[in-house]
């Protein structure tokens, strides 16, 4: 029994290790933003297109096919000259201003550095995403989250089976649970 649980703990941990590092490092970046430089690199380009598009998503699709842009269409807004469109990937944002009259798409792309990208990946969860790679990422996030809960549960069972650590473990676990339950209860009770 102990050996099986230990193997599960090991497999949960190692399979999710790279992802946990992403989450752990990006959490440090978010908790201590001054420690890191996360200003994105920005570059601009004009992409010639056909004039007269009446649909913002068609502009975005055309840019993805012929303009070499990739990502999820995060927003489309109609403006007086044409459309403003955002195409987003974790760490990369394309802001497009399409001029219906001239057919020019002005694309401003901001690309985050390493830590900025980790930050964006940390927030890129949710099976609601339309863009397939992001949906797949969301599935992995779900699996890693399950593994994290599994690590906790298998860890606690293993600790309990190791009789020599029970007393100090009960004190540490008791402190954590007493603190957490109390704070969560008090905060939750505060309303609304």
């Amino acid at each position: 029994m102990y050996k099986t649980i230990r193997t599960l703990h090991l497999i949960f941990g190692l399979s999710s290790l790279p992802f946990l590092l992403v989450y752990g490092l990006s959490a440090v970046q978010m908790a201590h933003p001054k420690w890191f430089h996360t200003k994105p690199a920005i570059h601009d380009v004009n992409i010639p297109m056909a004039p007269g598009y009446t649909d913002g998503r068609s502009v975005a699709r055309e840019l993805m096919i012929n303009g070499n842009l990739r990502g999820e269409i995060a927003s489309v807004q109609e403006t007086a000259p044409g459309f403003t469109i955002r195409i987003v990937l974790p760490g990369t944002v394309h802001e497009i201003q399409y001029d219906r009259k001239t057919g020019t798409a002005y694309v401003r792309t901001s690309v985050a550095g390493f830590m900025g990208r980790l930050n964006r990946l940390h927030h890129a969860a949710g099976l609601w995403h339309e863009y397939l790679p992001l949906k797949c990422w969301a599935m992995f996030v779900g699996l890693v989250s399950l593994a994290t809960v599994g690590l906790g549960l298998t860890g606690i069972v293993m600790w309990w089976m190791r009789r020599q650590d029970r007393m100090i473990g009960i004190i540490l676990l008791g402190a954590n649970l007493a603190f957490s339950v109390t704070i969560l209860f008090l905060l939750r009770r505060a309303g609304p």
Partner: protein, 196 residues
């Protein structure tokens, strides 16, 4: 050495267990959230008598509302957060860890309309996982939680290192361990490449 690392691994795990489980739950909540925007469902509506002195600007009215209502776990409204309803009444969203107190200043009726928008328990846990010490102006209880969260965050990174050490020092030839690690690394590398 192995025994020391193992003990630290276990003790730190027990000391931060609730937080680590909440991290996992937060990930699952984010995964199954139906959309980017959170649902904002009003649970209760109440009215409080309130008169606006004619000499105040919107920011000063917001501050007066804040002092009058003393809504728990909220903070003063920044001026860039002031909004108006379509009827031009001042709309104040006082956020806290449980949701939003949406206050509409009904000047002509001499009332405040207060909508209680309460997040689900799952969204509450998702928000709790994100509390950091950087928010020095936040409520003290949240700040205390954030301090323990900080410990759990560093512990998570330490578990990654100590876990690998414990694996290599106890079962270095276990093939499934290599398979799991390489599988995870290839998965992350593939996403890093595809989402670049």
């Amino acid at each position: 050495m192995n025994k020391l690392v193992k003990n630290l691994h276990i003790y730190a795990g027990l000391l931060t267990l609730a937080h680590l489980v909440i991290y996992g739950i937060a990930g699952l909540v984010a995964t199954f959230q139906p959309g980017q925007a959170r649902p904002k469902v009003t649970n209760a509506v109440r009215y409080v008598p309130f008169s606006v002195p004619g000499s105040l600007n919107d920011k000063q009215v917001a501050d007066l509302v804040y002092r009058t209502l003393q809504l728990p776990l909220t903070r003063p409204m920044p001026d860039w957060f002031l909004r108006h309803t379509p009827d031009k009444d001042l709309l104040l969203d006082f956020y806290n860890i449980n949701g939003i107190y949406r206050v509409i200043v009904l000047e002509r009726e001499h009332q405040l309309r207060i909508d209680d928008i309460r997040n689900s328990n799952w969204l509450f846990l998702e928000d709790m996982h994100a509390m950091t010490l950087g928010d020095a102006e936040g409520p003290r209880m949240v700040h205390v939680w954030a301090a323990w969260n900080e410990v759990a965050m560093w512990s998570l990174l330490a578990f990654c290192v100590s876990g690998v050490y414990l694996w290599l020092s106890s079962r270095p030839r276990f093939i499934w361990a290599y398979t799991s690690l390489i599988g995870g690394a290839i998965g992350l590398a593939a996403f890093w490449w595809e989402l670049r």
